[in-house]
């Protein structure tokens, strides 16, 4: 989903920076609060960040005959919310921009917006919505992670379409053209990412279900039922 260095006109680079910076600032503030108040959740914060690191390095072949990578942001968004996940995403994007020439510093604002903000925001809403509908915990995680991944690429397509409207058909025609490259490549990868994320949550629930309860991600009764413990 990286928009390459120099491939967005300057005014659009500035626009996405302006939208992303407040979210990052709020995320840093929230992360500081988390570090102070919930020390028991710190290992999970590291795991969520590392998950984005691993998944976004995997360039996987998709059925469309091209390659792309998962984002891994669904996990952080469910655990800590979108703003903290945006900070984790920013770290990964800076690494890739500086050492791999994937993405760029001029396009960092746009890339942070699609991968770090839009995707996690979708994951957060989907997860909360599914839990309110009393859906199975793992199904909720799967949907959240899958849609977060996919939403990232839809937003990237939209960002490029806004900057490069087609002579005939305008922004919409461009959106279809970029969507055909990004969004369609991404569908199978997003499904795989959703399944892997749900599996990781299974282990977290077994090992530290108590932390999930304290972060208000799941209530105690549901957690015990999923662990196969008898509800008292």
């Amino acid at each position: 989903m990286h928009i390459m260095e120099g491939f967005l006109p300057p005014q659009w680079c500035a626009f996405w920076y302006v939208l992303s910076i407040p979210v990052i600032a709020y995320g840093v503030y929230r992360m500081n609060a988390l570090v102070r108040e919930r020390r028991e959740a710190l290992p999970l914060l590291a795991v969520a960040g590392a998950f984005i690191f691993v998944l976004s390095s995997l360039k996987m072949p998709s059925v469309t005959g091209s390659c792309s990578h998962p984002t891994g942001t669904g996990m952080g968004a469910v655990l800590f919310g979108p703003s903290i996940t945006a900070v984790l995403g920013l770290i990964v994007l800076i690494y890739q921009a500086l050492f791999l020439a994937h993405g760029g510093i001029t396009t960092l604002g746009a890339n942070v917006f699609s991968m770090g903000i839009a995707g996690p925001f979708v994951a957060y809403l989907v997860y909360k919505g599914c839990m309110r509908l009393n859906m199975n915990f793992y199904v909720a995680i799967f949907l959240a992670a899958t849609l977060a991944d996919w939403a990232t690429y839809v937003v990237t397509s939209l960002q490029l379409a806004l900057a490069f409207p087609a002579a005939v058909g305008g922004v919409l025609a461009s959106f279809y053209a970029f969507g055909a490259v990004f969004a369609i490549t991404q569908v199978p990868l997003a499904i795989v990412e959703g399944v892997v994320t749900a599996l990781i949550f299974k282990y977290i629930l077994q090992l530290r279900g108590d932390v999930l309860v304290r972060l208000h991600i799941i209530d105690e009764a549901k957690m015990r039922a999923l662990r196969g413990e008898v509800v008292a």
Partner: protein, 94 residues
Amino acid sequence: MKGELIAALVIAVFVAMFAIVSSTTGGEWAGADDQAEDVIAHITGGTYQPWAEPVWEPPSGEIESLLFALQAALGAIVIGYFLGYYKGRQKSSE
């Protein structure tokens, strides 16, 4: 075990699809990022010139693979370390 089975099944289907597409079509397996560059060139009629260059580019594809592998390895170490830490704590408290 149910979760692992579902994951294995989905990944198996994914690999099978890759095998089928590889053998039946002339997929080039290029990066989607690069394809987007082609779309930009197509829409603008090739007039758009990138106005910034990456600060540093990996000197070869080999070095790029190294840095990607490093990224994955660093992440995997952190995940393994902390999940292992949780597991150890759980064992010792039993």
